[in-house]
Amino acid sequence: MAATVETVERVRALDKYKYGFVTDIESETAPKGLSEDTVRFISAKKGEPEWLLEWRLKAYRHWLKMPEPGWSKVQFPPIDYQDSYYYSAPKSPTDGPKSLDEVDPKLLETYAKLGIPLNEQKLLAGVAVDAVFDSVSVATTFKKNLEEVGVIFCPISEAVKNHPELVRRYLGSVVPYADNKHACLNSAVFTDGSFVYIPKGVRCPMELSTYFRINAQNTGQFERTLIIAEEGSYVSYLEGCTAPQRDENQLHAAVVELVALDDAEIKYSTVQNWYPGDEEGKGGIYNFVTKRGACRGRNSKISWTQVETGSAITWKYPSCILQGDNSVGEFYSIAITNNRQQADTGTKMIHLGKNTRSRIIAKGIAAGRSDSTYRGLVRIGAKAAGARNFTQCDSLLIGDKCGAHTVPYIETKNRRAIVEHEATTSRISEDQLFYCRQRGMSQEDAVALVVNGFCREVMQQLPMEFAVEAQKLVGISLEGSVG
């Protein structure tokens, strides 16, 4: 039937990764492979102080001895760390652009294709953008507005130069270099990422966002993000990703550290849409990320929200260490896997202080031949009297070749704590899809609508600018998953 063929063609066309293009900007790269020399090269390129080089080298030496984390459900061939480049920077005629006018037009073109308006529109939208292109941040906007209230928002390499005392004090204080093999590698070779400092009592006047991209051939990205919220301050940080299509797997091992002091609040939102590989899972990104926040102060709060739709493999557990009494940790997650994607994601809530509270809402959607696992730890320390946790994990299956798993770990050393865990698994219902189609919606729109409904509780946590984008992304990620 002609109509059927046409639909298949259309779905196939849509299914191709929408951002699959590569810009041929010359990269100034470190020699291929990983050695002490690579680490020294990166540190020298960045003009780093001695203490940071030493820290990187310590991490590198430790990394050599560390085993790969083996407890997750994801499967992939061993990574050849010597087959990658660890540093590349877009070439620029001057030392670095001072404004957008000085930015390589080709770079700006790439941003435009990715739909990032790095211009006045962002100002109107109230979003400051620190764009990471490959490994070097090329443009930072709206710095002035932020400076007026004393907020520091800059590439971490810049913070190393301008605010060394802050970086030295907090870097690695939440995620120590020896934490796990991926975080350890990041500590040795991280090239860029963002640094945010919110002074005492300041409510950050705009949503901060960084768009991460991966562009040069065979270059793994190792961002390092550090956010410090001083007493009584508030910040909302947004991170979003899309990447050009590639043929070889790319390792991405980022580290994000958050520190919230007394009465401070950090809201960290992510929409992740990296290239997931082709229908067979070939060529996708390996996303091995360590994200952790420390609620060091009393009444502090850290809230993670993530929408994970991309990557061939996602290995990610944004966590909270609830040290301060009455501190609050939240984790809201949507993980969508299709085709051959694998996701092992969840959180850790470590309750140390009294009356600490945590809330976990995780929604996993698996389609195609993909595999989605929620893995979460709730640990109540001996001194955490009155601690409370509520966890809810819901899985939705599309088709009969995918898998969804829920693996909760609960450890409690205090009898006066309350821990609750609820979990459900369901299949997308034929009744729902037919009902929508009878009302005129296409199969794909129906799937997107039902799945967005399933995810609503989490979507509502996203800042408005992201919520709309994320809802569209849900539809795009599940295209071709039914029928």
Partner: protein, 250 residues
Amino acid sequence: MLEIKNLHATVDGKAILKGIDLTVNAGEIHAIMGPNGSGKSTLSYVLTGREGYTVTEGEVLFKGKNLLDMDPEERAGEGVFLAFQYPVEIPGVPNTTFLKEALNSVRRYRGEGELDAMQFVKLVREKTKMLHMSDDMLKRAVNVGFSGGEKKRNEALQMAVLEPSLAVLDETDSGLDIDALKTVADSVNLLRRPENALVLITHYQRLLDYIVPDHVHVLAGGRIQASGGKELAHELEARGYAEFSAGAAA
């Protein structure tokens, strides 16, 4: 408007419809009555293109077009609407989002251009007002936690928004007390237009006291065994389906 000719259909390889002939013209109301298992709901699903219902013989023309060649959403776009016997719950999707998505899908199909948020809200308010419904229902998730009566009224609201040419009401009276039945029937009557047609699928005569049909058909054993005016429904109520079922078995 609707022409069903010698329609045969199977479910799981089992023959359910065994040669249905039925013509519905604009402005008409047809009631299809019959015992359980006679193929009433199957007919509604075959007309709307539900998966698992296989047509083995015959044809269905809707406004001269071959309905059986179309996907369910295309049939909806052409103006075929099914009010479900058991309206489906869609957790997390606000009724208004669902309605807007549905209306704009149908409008796109018809090349009419989508309504923006403001235009849509205005339209829905008109419809809820017409049907004496509260706007609260719009904010709630589709059919989630709705009473039996609310679910059926919600179907009527969807019908009001989508303005189909042909609405098939599948056992709309089931599970409703008499007050709820009356309210839903009132809504349906409000939506009648000379250019539109209604097919009521029902087990009992009582719905037909409120929505009065022009034609009544008795479906049994996968065939229409008898057709007549509204008085046939009263006869059935008095005498039951036994003689038609016996006829079908023979």
